[in-house]
Amino acid sequence: MNSKTTVLQVNDLTVQFDQEGRLVKAVDHVDLELVHGEILALVGESGSGKTTLGRAIVGLARPNSGSVIIDGVKVDYRRAGDLRLLWRKVQMIFQDPYSAFDPLRTIVESVLLPLHKFGIFQNDTLAREHVERVLNSVGLNYNELESKYPHELSGGQRQRAAIARALVVSPRVLIADEPVSMLDVSLRAGILDILKDLNEKNGVTVVFVTHDLAVAQYISDRIAVMYKGKIVELGSSTEVVREPFHPYTRLLLKSVPRLKAKQEWRFRTDSGTRAVDLTTFTGCNFYPRCPIGVDDCTRGEPRLQEVKPGHWAACYTPLLAFAES
């Protein structure tokens, strides 16, 4: 297969929530394209819409407008048949491996279930062999788990099992929503490496949702930074970290504690640097907090533009932002 095939395409996707009578755009006209075998990290703070975007792709949040195209086929989220096809191709793993499993089923039963649902193996022996292989690929042993229930596993093992269950139907795309943030640090590396490994061996495309920029940089080929429902910066992971063009990305990067670098903990981080009437304001979402901010920023929302080949930013002054560093 051509390694540059587009697997997942998100076009102008918007997801709105009704929050006490006020409409909030959790995902605001987002465009995204993932090629076969890449890992894209969706990075942002809570409320940025990164999780909602991931959930919308698998149909767990209903898009209000826009479309999602998997392998060239547009998904109609209102049709049960389309959803069934979608879940064959796109699987999700969640932040909390404790609540992701049915407590009354053994782990092996849970991992076998998608195979039965999709009628993938008619033959039980073949299905069992397949599950053995998949469990093996995430570092779990079928025989040890055969009669184990979720509560008998450690957090790290449960997250491995969740990955196995998602992969058992050989999906094209895996959406991983903060898969390591509830695990102890000593166990995170194992899970990240499994995902990297599966991506390299099976070519599964991964959307990795995280608030942790260091993890994003470690695991992904590209990073998309989200702010208030929009992608504000998109580029190769190395470049986004080394040469960020959006002032918001710069603020995020500056805030991450680093073990081996001297850092100055003396910066203003409070929001509301500029007072703006948000009910009528139509400029850049980040303008109220932006350390740069020129007149243009109040006139309309900046669109994502390619500042350097493959490196996009939604900012009127991307070069100023970079120079300021």
Partner: protein, 320 residues
Amino acid sequence: MSANSAPLVEIHDLTIAYSTPRGELRAVEDVNLSVFKGEILGLVGESGCGKSTLASALLRMIPVPGKIVNGSVRFGEIDVISLRQDDLRHFRWEKVSMIFQSAMNALDPVRTVCSQITETIHEHNSMGGESLDRVKQLLESVGLSPMHMYSYPHQLSGGMRQRVAIALALCLNPQLLIADEPTTALDVVVQAGILTTLKDLQERLGLTVVLITHDLSLAAAICDRIAVMYAGKIVELGETEKITVRPEHPYTEALINSVPELGDTKQKIQGIAGSPPSLISPPTGCRFHPRCKYVFERCMQHEPSLVRANRTDVACWLRG
């Protein structure tokens, strides 16, 4: 800085146990630790290592059914373990106060910021006359505008609530603030603001802080010294730069190698095989030996104690 000043807190041979249906669980065992005036000390370790239990002993607030089995906790001249109930009430908050991961749970949802802070002041000191000014001053010292005085907790953002919790913790001028994972529930930008505030309070007011966290880089950001805990014991203790640049204990080293560092594109992170031991029946010898890549015979039989090595205090047979 810390090495020259007097210890504010001295913990000696402290063992804290919880009785469970399956036996006695020693969450903290034979811990010796001093906290010096004006320093920020980080207590770092993974979940279940005993860091929160150890900190709760400083306020004698060990959750039931936990009990101090052995050892002493001294705060200056005060013997914390034998304090009478009356004196304990004053000791808490006037000498040592605490903030938690969830600031929302620490605040009363149906009362304004101002009324919560003034109540605490009046409870402890009926003479608190000019308390409104005091509230304003407290809010300013944690980087909050006094206009939030009459806000209810739900009207504030997560970061602002944590700042209110810090202001509340400081209202009786304690000498020591214990911060238990104060930024875990917060976004990274807000976290940076809280860390800046803690650092600022240390520098301006000479506040002593014990910061409990599972995140070594976070501790490295503002702590003067770091104590690394594993399975109820302190395994390494030293100045931050020494711990983070070239740790002496294999567990500290493994912790550092297990997290990706931002900006480092060549790094290969590595988890720690296995999982932390049960504290009901911990392994013999060094508690880390089943997961340690340098393990040798002695480690399995004899338990190393925390001793001064080249750069830090370390409990490991590799360092003698």
